[in-house]
């Protein structure tokens, strides 16, 4: 590979990951997930009755997600409160997780998933989704599968996994490309696909292969964290 990563990682190396569930005692389920210096915390409240009543769905419970950055988690302070970016990513998080849930047994209810980024160093939405999937499992919400997420990057012509902020700011050649992906663990079903940058259509399948390999590693970390919570 032509490119040398500043922190010495190989193209397919993720940053060190940590996962822990049960970090917010008040919540029905909660988790922290980190990719290197990116730290995401997620809490799940529910299923609980949804108000106002007209939003209720008698055929199923519904999922509601909120993603945001804590104001001090980035270099230039982020004004507290929802931004257009955070509203978009909240919805992306919801759609990434929804296919994994089975909420038909909880009609007229809502499950609130709150994701906050404590420290941001790129890959915040994917760290948030990993934390949220863990928090949902920890809450005992019926799930068909776990959801694993990772941002694949392309720096000039080289595909690498899990960009950090310095890599995201790369300049030159075909520039930096950020390609966040989430999938149902151990399947070929992708629940989040986003992209910014420049990539040839024929190279998209390479990105998906890198994502599959990374998500398999993330899945192991997630399973380990859940087992630890059960005292195994």
């Amino acid at each position: 590979m032509a490119l040398k990563r500043e922190d010495g990682r190989k193209a397919s190396d993720l940053r060190p990951m940590q996962a822990k569930v049960g970090v917010v005692p008040n919540a029905d389920g909660s988790a922290i997930f980190t990719f290197g210096d990116t730290i995401a915390i997620a809490a799940v409240y529910g299923p609980k009755q949804l108000h106002p009543q007209h939003m209720q769905d008698p055929s199923t419970g519904i999922l509601r997600c909120n993603y945001d950055l804590l104001s001090f988690s980035v270099s230039d302070r982020k004004k507290p409160g929802p931004s257009r970016r955070s509203q978009e990513l909240s919805k992306m998080t919801q759609w990434a997780l929804e296919p994994a849930l089975d909420l038909e047994g909880f009609p007229n209810t809502v499950i609130d998933v709150e994701v906050q980024i404590i420290q941001a160093d790129a890959g915040t939405r994917t760290a948030g989704i990993n934390a949220a999937a863990l928090a949902l499992a920890h809450a005992g919400v019926p799930m068909r599968n776990l959801v694993c997420a990772v941002a694949i990057g392309k720096l000039d012509k080289d595909i690498v996994v899990d960009l950090d902020k310095s890599e995201e700011d790369f300049e030159g050649g075909e520039g930096p490309t950020d390609f966040p992906v989430a999938k149902l663990a151990n399947t070929d079903q992708y629940t989040l696909l986003q992209l910014d940058g420049k990539i040839q259509p024929e190279r998209v399948k390479e990105v998906l292969s890198f994502a599959d390999e990374s998500c398999a590693k993330i899945y192991e970390i997630q399973k380990k964290a859940l087992k630890e919570a059960l005292g195994e």
Binding site: W95, L193, K198, V204
Partner: protein, 270 residues
């Protein structure tokens, strides 16, 4: 047009028709409706366009302002894309704070254009402290589905059309002075959006309102030519239905084919 939601019966009919490769209006699943472009639809704007795809109509206008550069990109001008889903355009749009759809539309246009390399942001610097800010606003006038693909075309054409207003001796904008100077744009790069919609196991392009409402998932790609290569510049999936690897891979050749098709169709309007 009815304000009622698309019924389950219609959705079921569409699902069955799509499986046979058929649509209500006789198109094949991958066909676009006729596309037309009009220029200079609002003469105070530095560039403005009306794009119609079938009965869908979107206006885009470019305004140029002089402002300060962002602290993290002092050697570059700025781009802002905004817009709204006006109640004028559909019984489904309501006034008030923007909902998700109103937030998403300009953000998708922004990313398709920004990441394509179409605008040479370094050439938008006037002096050390002053740079041009390019503001594109997109407003649907009639929503009959596929606003995003229409809005990206409208924005790209409006950028191509835009001319700089004059500057006074202090480098402030004087909108009364018109120049013939065009924006610093790449000649080869013309970003378009191509959105795939999924219902059941069928993938289709350029939906009508009804077809769009029946869809279970959508994925929008921004694509353009850059240094002689076709590049995907942006992508966003929406909806809770996953896409399989095979589905994503099957989109790639269609994406290239439609990128060429749209560029060919739009050539006569540029």
């Amino acid at each position: 047009m009815s304000t009622m939601d698309t019924s389950n019966l219609t959705i079921e009919t569409l699902r069955q028709m799509f499986e046979q490769g058929k649509r209500f209006d006789g198109r094949s699943l991958k066909d676009y409706r006729p596309i037309t472009v009009e220029h200079n639809v609002s003469n105070k704007a530095e560039g403005s366009t009306r794009v119609r795809i079938g009965k869908t109509e979107v206006l885009a206008g470019v305004k140029l302002q002089v402002g300060a550069p962002y602290p993290d990109s002092k050697d570059k001008g700025n781009l802002m894309v905004s817009g709204d889903l006006l109640p004028l355009a559909s019984p489904r749009f309501e006034s008030g704070p923007p909902g998700f759809n109103a937030i998403e539309l300009p953000r998708l246009v922004d990313r398709a254009i920004r990441e394509s390399g179409m605008i040479d942001f370094k050439k938008l610097v006037i002096t050390g402290e002053k740079v041009w800010t390019v503001i594109i606003d997109v407003f649907p006038i009639n929503d009959d589905g596929n606003l995003i693909d229409a809005a990206t075309i409208a924005a790209s054409v409006a950028l191509k059309d835009a001319t700089f207003p004059g500057l006074d001796k202090d480098n402030n904008v004087d909108y009364h002075i018109k120049t013939q100077n065009k924006l610093p744009l790449s000649k080869e790069t013309f970003p378009v959006s191509i959105s795939f919609y999924k219902l059941g196991s069928s993938l289709f392009l350029d939906p009508t309102r009804e077809e769009e409402e029946a869809a279970e998932a959508r994925i929008t790609f921004g694509i353009s030519l850059w240094n002689g290569q076709n590049m995907i510049n942006s992508c966003q999936k929406r909806g809770a239905k996953p896409l399989s690897r095979a589905e994503v891979e099957s989109m790639m050749p269609i994406l290239l084919e439609k990128q060429i098709y749209l560029n060919e169709k739009l050539k006569k309007f540029l």
